[in-house]
Every structure is written in C-alpha cells, then in structure tokens.
Amino acid sequence: MKGTDLYHPLILKHNKNPLHFKVDNDGDKINAYNPICGDEFQIVISIENNKINKASFHGYGCAVSKSALDLLLDRIQNLDIPEAVAEIEKYLRVIELDDPPSSDVYSLAVFQKVKFHPARRECATLGANAILRHLRERLV
C-alpha cells in the first residue's frame, strides 16, 4: 500500500460490513445528498434526553462516503449533542482543512488520505456535514 492510497483496511471493512447500515425509522431523519456524484443516504438518529442513543443509515454511496458515515455514527453514538457537534467539527477540520488529526479522532483519521484525492474529500464529509447541520439546528 502506497502512502497516498485511500483504501485503508478499516474503510474496506466498514464499506463491506457497516455497523449501522439498516432501515430504521425511529428518530430524526437526515438526508445526505451529493448531486455531483449521486451519492445519497438517509440517516436516522434517535435522540433522547439530548443524547444520541441510536443511529443508522441506508442508501447509496461509495466506499469512502459509506464507511466514513458508518464510523462517524459509531463515534457519536452515546454522546450528547454538543459533544457530537464538537466531535464532528474536529473530524471536518482534519478532512477539509488538513488539520493534523489529534489522537482522539480515533479511527476516523484514516480518511485524512483524501487530501491526496481532492475530488474524494466530499465523499469523506458527506454524512458528517449533513449530521452537523441537523444537530446545529437542534441546538438553537
């Protein structure tokens, strides 16, 4: 594997066997759509007492958008909303602004390789941005 290669085994694993890929209608519905590449996910997050206690998604997307969303959902599960927002923002700084990933971004750091594939940046952030937008709206 070259240093610029995008497909880290973790990405491939979560693409093939995502933990949160299922149809579940129980919660807030968030649509993540990138018209430019046609990727589209329906994300469902159920929030109780200001805390994300369940998260799932289904739809169509590439390995990067799918696994990134899956890992992110895993990461924010059980966080309260401000914590989840902070977490997603941290992740987006790594991906969109090339911030060095701090250790607590955990496994999501594998996606920083998109910096060698600029056209794929949006794959890694599609789900994250949609969820962030939604959570921020809930915060207000």
Partner: protein, 398 residues
C-alpha cells in the same frame, strides 16, 4: 508496436501511465507544445492591431489557421469559422446570438437525453427565459436517439435541433446526417455538438449540411482555452455580436456602434492567439495522420476494449450500433468512484461520475459510470492494463 505511438507525446515519457480519459481531454504531442513555445519565444505579437512585423505575422498565422480549419471541416469559406474558448462557449454563443432573438413564447427547442450539460443547460435556460419548451428526445430500445420521436416532434414551432455527434457516455455515434435531413425538411436549423467527434471522425460540414458545429481544441490534441464554432454564413451574417469590445467594431460613437462582418464580429477583445497557434499545430498533426486511419486504429482498440470488458464480466452501459472511442461500464456493485480511485493507484486514468450528463444518468437510472476512452496514443497494452486493474479492484473491494 507496443508503446511506440506514445513517443509523439512527452507526457508518456515523464509520467508513464495508462491514460484512458481522452474523452475528457487529450494529451498534447510535442509539435503542439513546441509551436506555442516557439510562438511566444520568437514571434509573439498581438493580432490585427499592430502595424509592425511581429503583429502582422501573428495576424497572418491567425487568419491562416482560420483557413486551415475551414479546410479541415470543409467549410465553404473561412468566414464561417469563429474562434471561441471552447465547445461550451460555441454553444452558448449560438443560444445567445442566434436563437434568443428568434424564440417566441411556446416555441420549441429539441435536444436529446444523451446531451452533455454544455448542450443541455443553455437550451433549458433559454427556453425558461422565453417561455419556450425544451423537448428532450428519448432513446429507442437499442439506446439510440429515437428518430421516430424526432419526426413526430418537428413542427413549425421548432426553432432549433441541437444534438451531440457522439455521446460522451455511451460512445454512440448519432445518425446526425439523417437527423439534419429530417430537421431541414421541417425547416429547422441544426447545431451539432462536435466535442466528442472532432478527434475521431472526418467532419465535412457541407456534406452534413449542419448549420452550426462546435468543438474544443483540447479534445483534439490541441491546447486549452481555444475552440471553434462553425456557422453557415447566412446565419452568422444575421446574428448580432455575442460580446462587445475591441477588434469587432467598425465604428463607435457616443450613441451607436457598427460592427464588423463575421467572423470578426464574434471575436471581441484580444483573442487566444497562442491557443490558435497550438490548434493549428494540432490539426496539422491530426491531418498528417489522417482521420480515417485514426478512426480505423481507434476502432480496433475500442473493439478490443469492449470485448475484454465484456469478457471480464463488467456491465457495459449502452450498446450503440456504431461506437466511437468511448465505453462506459459498471464493475459489479462497486461504486464507480471507488473503481476510478483504485485504478489510479495502479496508474490507470479513467473517469467516473455522471460525465456532465446527469439527465442521461437519471434516465438510465444509474448514479454514475466508469468511463474508459481511447485516443490515438492508446494501444492494446493499455487495454490489458485496464483489465488487470479491474481484477485488482475487485480483489481490493471484495
């Protein structure tokens, strides 16, 4: 024969890769690169404005290129050749200067579902602004533009038929000659989007009898930022300018301006002179090879490519009766973007996405495809590498 045709193209020496994205843009032969550098180094001057020799020379070469292009397209005269920045500008120019003033409420513009955005959105927006209708021809059961549908829609309300010569998604060569005949019988002028045919098929605008033909230099081994719009003289003469500025006017007073005749009326400002010089070298290169030979050779490679892809079990999108040098496909259920990125890790350049043809994608009910397209520099080895790359992709993604 292996790789030796690549020697004309320095990129393959410096960056050895399998390039199968010529439908997006072609690499440049050394003669083109050198012609432009030589122009800047030894002969640079602006056109038309200067009385000194550098400018006179530049003007001469600029206008000679126009004549050369007229011959290349078999236009009746060089005044039918307008320099643009590319196919996109050529089509927008026709929308703005030709069609806008002729379009009344409830008039119709006919295109096909195969069109590239460049030959789709200008008509869609023009129709919108003028309360006219955009009619989109569907495909028949073979994936070809439905000619019966065309016959049925043509009417006195039809003000233009705008059709791609070759689809940049399926590679299908559209029966434009027949379509032009049908349209003309109904009194409808026709624009051909030649972006995907110019490097592959011999174009004869008099034989086609098209009213407009637009292409980009960068897709025919020429530089970026330059293109050509052919237009029949009778149309160009009645068209108002597209943009205003220097070099396209005869007289300017506080109250009114008088404009030059075509083609200069449509070339406001300092043109892309070096781009024209590069295009001249590119068309000379293509002419020296002979388009018939290019077509025969590319067909051989593309046929082999299609066959090997089919054999490898990928799903090919569209089965045009006549195929140019483009094949779109899907590898199992692997997302096209993943396929392209993994192929890239193997130094294979293909394109993935909607190929600026979202309406077609939606029509075919697929979000994207992988596309491999062939140029003069490709060879059987490139096909072999792609097939190996697909096998590797499957392994990675399994």
């Amino acid at each position: 024969m292996k790789y030796n045709r690549k020697v004309d193209f320095p990129i393959f020496a410096s960056s050895p890769h399998v390039y199968l994205d010529s439908a997006a843009t072609t690499h440049k032969p050394e003669v083109v690169i050198r012609a432009m550098a030589d122009f800047y180094r030894n002969h640079y001057g602006t056109v038309r404005r200067g009385l000194y020799q550098l400018s006179a020379q530049a003007t001469r070469i600029y206008e000679e290129t126009r004549e050369q292009i007229a011959r290349f397209l078999n236009a009746k005269e060089s005044a039918e050749v307008v320099f643009t920045s590319g196919a996109t500008e050529g089509i927008n120019l026709v929308a703005e200067s030709f069609l806008k003033h002729r379009l009344q409420e409830n008039d119709e513009i006919v295109i096909s579902i195969l069109e590239h955005h460049a030959n789709f959105i200008p008509w869609q927006q023009l129709a919108r602004e003028n309360k006219a209708r955009l009619i989109i021809l569907p495909l028949d059961q073979h994936g070809e533009i439905d000619l019966t549908a065309l016959k049925n829609v043509l009417s006195p309300k039809t003000k233009l038929l705008a059709i791609g010569h070759v689809s940049n998604v399926t590679g299908g060569i559209n029966p434009v000659r027949q379509m032009i005949e049908l349209a003309h019988t109904a009194g409808v002028p026709v624009l051909i989007d030649g972006a995907q045919s110019i490097a592959h098929l011999k174009i004869d605008v008099q034989d086609l009898d098209c009213d407009f033909f637009a292409f980009s230099g960068h897709k025919v081994y020429g530089p970026t930022g330059i293109g050509v719009l052919f237009g029949k003289k009778k149309w160009l003469e009645e068209m108002p300018p597209y943009r205003y500025g220097g070099e396209m006017i005869l007289e300017v007073t506080a109250d009114y301006s008088r404009f030059k005749n075509p083609p200069h009326r449509f070339e406001a400002g300092t043109p892309n002179i070096a781009g024209v010089i590069g295009l001249k070298a590119a068309l000379a290169y293509v002419s020296s090879l002979d388009l018939a030979q290019i077509h025969t050779y590319e067909k051989q490679i593309t046929d082999h490519l299609t066959q090997e892809l089919r054999r490898s079990g990928v799903r090919i999108i569209g089965a045009p009766m006549e195929r140019s040098s483009v094949v779109s496909f899907l590898v199992d259920d692997i997302h096209p973007h993943d396929v392209a990125t993994i192929l890239d890790s193997q130094n294979i350049a293909v394109r993935a996405g909607h190929h600026c043809a979202q309406p077609l994608m939606r029509y075919l009910n697929i979000p994207a495809t992988v596309r491999a397209s062939v140029g003069w520099y490709n060879d059987l080895e490139d096909v072999e590498q792609l097939i190996k790359g697909i096998i590797y992709t499957r392994k990675v993604m399994q």
